[in-house]
Symmetry: C2
Subunit: 212 residues, 2 copies
């Protein structure tokens, strides 16, 4: 009686087909121009059918974001090499490269403000946690080997590195660079500056000027 199993498999297949169609469309034409009706046409179902697979359009993109996080996890997980500092560099740089290779996914994961549940469910993506853990461990190793000051907080350092690289990635993903500027060079410089800064230690206490 493999009937139920087959049915389940078929249902899953349709669900995947919806995601595939949505991915194709939004990678090709961008997030904005994906509509339920276009997805439906692509998989040769009626628009209404989609709603028995995903409760809303946002949930489709939510699933694609999860897919993105999974891809990022794979992309960012690197085998430790002989040079701990170089490993840190490589992890950060692969994060940046991911933003270029999967621009639409990246935008969905980190830039989009209309799928807020991504933010709230941060903890839901277990592998994201693992990924962070792995990266933090890499940094910790670099700390232990003396590349960073011994009192450096690996987790905080990771956040700073990600934020910095994300800044460069976002600027070029959102096309906010002046004509003459080289996005890759900016990303490289930003990453290098941040690493160098973390290495040198943040000596001065920072007091933001709140007057004016």
């Amino acid at each position: 009686m493999g009937v139920k199993e087959r049915q389940e498999r078929e249902k899953e297949a349709v669900g995947r087909a919806i995601l595939d169609a949505a991915r194709d469309l939004f990678v090709a034409e961008g997030y904005q121009h994906v509509s339920i009706r276009k997805i439906a046409e692509r998989i040769e179902y009626s628009p209404a059918a989609i709603y028995s697979y995903f409760p809303s359009k946002d949930d489709i993109f939510y699933a694609l974001a999860e897919e993105g996080f999974r891809m990022l996890s794979d992309r960012v997980r690197i085998a430790p090499g002989p040079d701990a500092l170089e490993d840190v560099r490589r992890v950060c740089w692969s994060f940046y490269e991911f933003s270029k290779e999967h621009a639409e996914h990246y935008a969905l994961m980190f830039l989009d403000r209309s799928v807020p549940r991504i933010s709230r469910d941060w903890g839901r993506f277990g592998f994201v946690h693992e990924m962070q853990q792995d990266a933090a461990l890499l940094i910790q190793r670099a700390i232990d080997e003396g590349f960073f000051p011994p009192r450096t907080d690996a987790r905080a350092a990771l956040l700073v590195l990600v934020a910095a690289v994300h800044g460069a990635a976002a600027m070029c993903l959102c096309d906010r660079m002046a004509p003459g500027e080289d996005p890759n060079a900016l990303a490289r410089d930003t990453l290098e500056a941040t690493i160098a800064g973390l290495r040198s230690g943040i000596t001065q206490t920072f007091r933001p000027d709140t007057t004016h």
Copy 2:
């Protein structure tokens, strides 16, 4: 015959009213939920009327983005103080503060990907150029006073600083921070690390690993 003048004034007033309504709506409810019809209702005109003031909805947001750049220009222009390095810090930090005070404007200016003309017309906003120039001058002064290595490129350094701060701002604007994390602390740390990195100089040549 102040007739033409009066008519022009009236027309200008309506244009401003449209922008005011659009701003109110998108600051209150976010970019996504602003519609021509809602703006029209607010100013008690028919939706069609708006099209004799702005050729499209995007142009309204384009105008608001320009407004944002103007505000940022004002916000960021600081009087040079006794400490050149502190001035650099203050400029960068006020950039970050702007992102919190005018989140929706900031998103429009730097994060939104559906109003691409902002990116293309970068050069159009003369005051943005001036702002950059001013900030670069501040950095140059810090270089001249020995806070940064003498061969530092002020303009490149500015870009790096902006990218880094923008990264932290974007992460918290897009609500991509894990629950326990302090956005301000991240922004502070990122800025400090970047400044420290630029000060220490980027000694190592960076060769991104393109294998894998």
